[in-house]
Amino acid sequence: MSLPRPSRAAITEGWPVLLTSAVVGATFGVIARQSGASVLEASGSSLIIFAGAAQFAVVGLIKDGATPIEVAVSVLLINLRHALMAASLRPFFTRTSLAQRLGLAYILTDEAFAMGIGWFRRGHRDLSYYVTFGVGLWLCWNVSTIAGALFGAGIDRPERYGVDFAITACFVAIVTLSARHRSDVAVALTAAFVAAALRLAGASTTAVVIAGAVAPIVLLATRRGRV
């Protein structure tokens, strides 16, 4: 089978991200299973929510006895960033139907946004790159969740292998790879330190939302010129 060129590019450029998502997806399966979820429940989370960081948070919240409303609010806060990503992608989706946009929204993840916006910023306008990568990520994530949930129950004390650190390591790597200007580094460091301080002071998922929302303001306040 030969794929059109943008679809091929999505795979050849995106395979490290896809592989990483499979590693993290399998990790999610293992951790969900070890927190008491069944294979079906772990898989359901990946199908219905399909958002890595939020899914890890949900596992922790349910384990701690949070109500469904508390879970939903936390997920909303964690994923509010997707609204901004969707808003930045919107100009590139102008020639699509409403039904197509509803589909494009379902596969919108941090990774699909990063890869997609990178493609569009290089001047491309076709959607197959974003769609191929987004669907590929969806497949990797859901298949690896099931694999992790099926085989993961046998792993004893996963923290010994650092597996519980996979999602954090993934965030660290994504930030490092996407920081292009000095201002990106400043925003990232500010956000990371504020979130870390809030988290150590006892804040839960709100630490991420507050730090993420405040860090760019700091930058805008200190630098008026081009970012």
Binding site: P16, T20, V23, V24, A37, E41, G44, S45, I49, I62, A66, P68, I69, V71, A72, V73, V75, L76, R81, A83, A86, A87, S88, R90, L98, L102, A105, Y106, D110, E159, G162, V163, F165, A166, T168, A169, V172, A173, V175, T176, L177, S178, A179, S183, A188, L189, A192, V194, A195, A196, A197, L200, V208, V209, A211, G212, A213, P216, L220, V227
Partner: protein, 102 residues
């Protein structure tokens, strides 16, 4: 049952954040300062997720292993420009530092 209710509501919340900006259209040009804020936001939120995860891993404040593992992940990401290598380096770093008692 409340598991599925939580997952269902979480799924709706997630989908709304992704779909609403693609469905509801805003009129007029976006002010420059808002555009720059929106540009900087994703990296800020992902960095915040990283910072929170490094500081408190699995509800336990870091003993230093996570800081070391993250530093290794940054170094490998900057050096190899490869996400998978960076994640694996972070995992190996954390596992090694934890084995040393951090």
């Amino acid at each position: 049952m409340s598991y599925w209710l939580a997952i269902g509501l979480g799924g709706i919340a997630t989908y709304l954040t992704r779909a609403l900006p693609l469905v509801v259209s805003l009129r007029g040009e976006m002010p420059d300062i808002l555009r720059r804020y929106l540009d900087a936001l994703p990296i800020a939120v992902i960095a915040a997720l990283a910072g929170a995860g490094i500081a408190v891993q699995d509800s336990v404040p870091t003993g230093g292993a996570e800081v070391g593992g993250a530093a290794l992940a940054v170094a490998v990401a900057a050096w190899r420009k490869n996400l998978l290598f960076a994640v694996l380096a972070g995992l190996v770093g954390v596992a090694a530092l934890r084995a040393l008692g951090l």
